[in-house]
């Protein structure tokens, strides 16, 4: 297993190199002068020259790329053109917010999606099956930014029961340890903060989690239907095993592999969808950071954030692959 993990890590190198080349090239895809594009038409020639010098745009491509990779390997992502702050520091302060939101959305999607998929498969063609699968079909077609805005209108404007933006109310105090607010409030036993953070997470989490939820539900159902036809399920049933044990221990564990693949891939969707969701809910994470950078033409920030998100996505997919072994010991890695 360790050998396999090492081999997979080595195989990541060309992908990560490619990712770095693509993100590096972004700035060179800008039509015309990137420096002028960033500083605007009113900038003076000396300001432009200074920025070109800072970003190393006057050097040959190969030198620029070498420096780009060298800096990344040292953990230096450069400086924001707008705020002049270190991008790595800015990303590090926003990453927990995005991770908290995406993980919350994914847990929501998995719990509801898998449960709905299992029940739909066990009670095939029942009203629940029809209802949940129609819901799933609708779910994959929903524009999340629209869903987000409609939820704000209903729950914040009309009913006034959920907050429309941010991670936590201003009047709540929380001692942060991990910067994952939900976790921090649990660790410190701060129930007022927990309730407040949870209510802030709910709408963006649902908006972000709806599409993965629908996809997971459909995948679980079809995978479960396949497994429930197998002989070992009939055997388990014949020897008088309780229904819930058959479904959850025998069938679901075997049906989970394709679902796991989908979950891994959906993480990418969540990280991408975070840009839209965080923009709507003013969620102070990387997605909103990317959006503001795009709007402000802060290309080094766009470059670095996208690189970081791609690396996270690649690693999540690697972890998904490694989890296969747990769910299907038949898979041989040698």
């Amino acid at each position: 297993m360790l050998k396999y993990i090492l081999r997979r890590l080595v195989m990541l190198i060309p992908v990560l190199l490619g990712v770095s080349i693509l993100t590096f090239s972004l700035i060179h895809l800008i039509p015309g002068d990137p420096a002028r594009s960033m500083l605007g038409e009113k900038s003076t020639e000396s300001q432009l020259e200074q920025l070109r010098e800072e970003l190393g745009l006057n050097d040959p491509y190969v030198v620029q790329y070498g420096r780009f990779v060298g800096k990344i390997l040292r953990g230096d992502l450069g400086e924001s053109v707008k705020s002049q702050e270190e991008i790595s520091v800015e990303i590090a302060s926003r990453l927990p917010a995005t991770v908290e939101l995406t993980v919350f959305a994914m847990i929501l999607a998995m719990v509801v999606g898998i449960l709905a998929g299992v029940i739909a498969a066990v009670k095939q063609y029942s009203w629940f099956d029809n209802l949940s699968m129609s819901g799933a079909l609708f779910g994959v077609s929903l524009p999340i930014f629209w869903l987000g805005l409609m939820m704000i209108w209903l729950f914040s404007v009309k009913l006034n029961i959920l907050p429309a933006s941010g991670r936590m109310s201003n009047d709540i105090e929380l001692h942060t340890i991990t910067n994952f607010y939900l976790l921090d409030s649990l660790i410190t036993g701060n129930w007022a903060a927990f309730k407040d953070v949870f209510s802030h997470l709910l709408m963006p989490g649902i908006a972000l989690g709806t599409i993965p939820m629908a996809i997971i539900a459909r995948m679980t159902r079809s995978s479960m239907l396949e497994v429930m036809k197998q002989d070992y399920i009939r055997t388990a049933s014949a020897k008088g095993l309780a229904r819930h044990l058959i479904v959850f221990q025998h069938a679901l564990k075997n049906a989970f592999l394709p679902v796991l693949t989908v979950i891994g891939l959906q993480f990418g969707l969540l990280l991408g969808g975070a840009v839209l969701t965080e923009t709507i809910f003013s969620w102070p994470g990387i997605g909103r950071y990317v959006y503001l950078a795009v709007m402000g033409r802060d290309y080094p920030v766009v470059q670095s954030s996208i690189l970081i998100i791609a690396v996270i996505f690649v690693l999540v997919n690697l972890i998904t692959d490694l989890l296969y072994k747990y769910f299907d010991p038949r898979i041989s890695y040698d």
Binding site: V19, L22, M150
Partner: protein
């Protein structure tokens, strides 16, 4: 020997004719089509797509107002007999804007998916057919593209190319390439091992001819399914980009841009946001339902 009963409980003529007759030969496409329209969900999908096409073609007839005509005195009017879906921040008729927006959605769907399909089919076809190092290089490039969450890569591309509907379509087209390339490659891998390809090679057909005239035409079924499902995704992604201000620019009645414009008035005039979003949802649902049905209809394993 037992006597064969002279009377049978049910008249066997009709079923017998059915079972003994040689199966009527029908093409894959005809067969798939008949299965497709028998499925309730894909039929609804087809109806939605047809409705979209009719509305787009007849937009000037179907619309009640000029989609860009501003009536500043009629700002944020609620839905009424005169303005069926209300008016927006510039007093424009939302219903008419949604009607004209269908044209933009079709344009986005076809052009973006066209870009993905052409590049993806070429890359996947070449990788699968020629194999070896060409396959390795092409598929590694595809892996790299797939390392980015697609909407994020599209946002980054539009950010550098400049915000416009054309650039949004190009970006969405590019991020859609990997899916086509992978599907085509895997189909080509199985098709190229068939006997008719061997026969074509035996009579001396050149690689180009085999690939483009024999292999790729036999990969059409999965390509069409992917294209249908991709149109829905492309419309959704383009609306997302326009919502962020990176796609269609004012005063274009693109649905995502309309939604974005209406955000500021969500509290007082929710219809400005609600209806364009419903339109996006309906059209994407249509393509998803139809694409799903198409996949089932073209899948020979599900053939009765």
């Amino acid at each position: 020997m037992a006597a064969i009963p002279q009377t049978s409980p049910t008249p066997p003529e009709v079923p017998e004719q059915k079972t003994t007759a040689t199966p009527k030969s029908s093409s894959l496409w005809l067969d798939a089509f008949s299965r497709l329209i028998r499925s309730k969900t894909s039929f609804i999908g087809l109806l939605i797509i047809l409705l979209l096409l009719v509305v787009a073609a007849m937009a000037p007839v179907v619309a009640t107002h000029d989609p860009t005509d501003q009536q500043l005195l009629d700002r944020y009017l609620a839905p009424s007999g005169d303005h069926w879906l209300g008016t927006d921040e510039l007093g424009r008729d939302i219903y008419s804007r949604i009607v004209y927006g269908t044209r933009i959605s079709i344009q986005i769907g076809l052009i973006a998916v066209g870009i993905s399909a052409v590049i993806g089919i070429l890359l996947g076809g070449i990788a699968g057919y020629f194999g070896r190092w060409i396959d390795q290089i092409i598929m590694r490039v595809i892996d790299i593209l797939m390392a980015f969450p697609s909407i994020l890569l599209a946002i980054a591309l539009v950010a550098v190319l400049g915000a416009s509907l054309t650039n949004a379509m190009i970006a969405i087209g590019i991020v859609g390439v990997p899916q086509f390339a992978r599907i085509v490659r895997s189909t080509v891998l199985s098709v190229k091992e068939t006997e008719y390809i061997e026969a074509a090679r035996a009579i001396g057909a050149k690689n180009n001819r085999i690939l483009f005239q024999h292999v790729l035409p036999n990969c059409l079924a999965p390509i069409i399914v992917q294209a249908t499902l991709s149109i829905g995704t492309a419309i959704l992604d383009a609306a997302g980009l326009s919502f962020l201000g990176l796609g269609a620019q004012p005063p274009s009645p693109e649905w995502g841009a309309m939604l974005s414009d209406g955000r500021a008035a969500l509290q007082t005039a929710p219809w400005v946001v609600a209806f364009p979003g419903l339109a996006i949802f309906l059209v994407v649902l249509g393509f998803n339902l139809f694409g799903d049905g198409l996949r089932d209809a073209l899948d020979p394993r599900l053939k009765q």
